[in-house]
Subunit: 207 residues, 2 copies
DNA sequence: CGGCAGATCATCCGAACGGTGGATCCGCGA
DNA sequence: TCGCGGATCCACCGTTCGGATGATCTGCCG
């Protein structure tokens, strides 16, 4: 039985590339494309694909993670395979959390992509090797995992805010900000806010 | 006369996409692909294309800018069109400097891509609108341009170094470091090192 | 030659920061 | 039920940072 696929990516080039690659396989057929999350949700109801490939960075509208969440609400049995450029800790976790069945990087070889599509359509979890090792590494070092509150603070810190501004933004006292920061520093292995910003931006990807 | 094209990109998907798009045009023909800068240089001598599309972020080996430089050394009349994901100030300037005839973003529409390929093959400079506006903006605000020394310091600052460390690294006194920082802050429109790091990393792109 | 921009160094001061050591409250799981 | 981790708060203290100001030296361009 052929795997019918919906491609979601805001880059026409990437959609054309995936379509060309996948359509070259006799058992895979691209039946629809979407350039935004909203289009993707509509296409799922209209075209009933057996698999969705999803870019996380969609130019406008809802982002890939939110799109995954909505698609999973529509059809809990429809596997969504993330196909994106960067593998950052946060993105992988958020995507899996939203219900993605796999996480594939765009620099994968055609062979890896075919295998991932067939596997995901069959309900198997698929992770690109770099992603897999990253996930395992993170699970093996839970002491380095930031708490939600710390991550929130780090995000704002990465904008260059001062302790005072952080306190106001998060509705906590400056003292609490400093406590959180101390924890973040120790987890990230740094001892200045500038170094923390550097690590944060490199880890979590930019823009 | 048909435009023969060499595609350079480390992502098989992107190559397939560009090939699919370009080959759909009667006057454009993709005659070769390369996944690394080294392969690209070889392909130029072997295949004699009339245009090269170049990704700047090539996984391994020489980067796109260096590849452009070497290709231009081989054939000064062969136009190289940058086709990449991110438009950072530094990348654009470096690519143009290396001899690129145009700078196209991967989220361009197929129509824009066709026009750019035809234009570049005819020797015309082509810039994606966001890139163009960025360049103009930078030229219109020379007061925001950092001096080489300031840029050097900013790079190290973005690693999270303290003033003392910066001084030792650059063989200057801490007082001088603070002077440079003050200039950088005023040019970037910030007033803390953390914010400067944030701006620097976002501007100059990561990894 | 004169001026201007860049790089260098210096001093002063108040504000911000980072480290340390505590404290309370809550929810969850052993 | 007891403990533990997460989140919140506080005080103290030395260090670092940022702003203001001024100075010298170099090289370049008109």
């Amino acid at each position: 039985m052929t795997v019918t696929v919906l491609l979601v990516d805001d880059h026409a080039v990437v959609r054309a590339g995936l379509r060309a690659l996948l359509d070259s396989q006799p058992d895979i057929e691209v039946i629809a494309e979407a350039g935004t999350g909203e289009e993707a949700v509509d296409a799922v109801t209209d075209c009933r694909p057996r698999l969705v490939t999803m870019d996380l960075a969609l130019g406008s509208g809802i982002d890939g993670v939110e799109a995954i969440r909505r698609i999973r609400q529509l059809d809990r049995d429809l596997p969504v395979l993330v196909f994106t450029t960067y593998d950052t800790d946060a993105d992988v976790v958020r995507a899996i959390d939203a219900g993605a069945i796999g996480y594939l990087l765009k620099d994968s070889t055609p062979q890896e992509i075919f295998a991932a599509v067939r596997g995901a359509a069959a309900g198997q979890s698929v992770l690109s090797p770099p992603v897999a090792s990253r996930l395992l590494q993170q699970m093996q070092r839970p002491e380095e995992a930031l708490t939600p509150r710390e991550a929130e603070l780090l995000t704002l810190l990465a904008k260059g805010m001062t302790n005072k501004e952080l306190g106001k933004a998060l509705f906590i006292s400056e003292a609490t900000v400093k406590t959180h920061l101390a924890h973040i520093y120790s987890k990230l292995g740094v001892d200045t806010r500038a170094a923390a910003v550097s690590v944060a931006l490199r880890r979590q990807g930019i823009r």
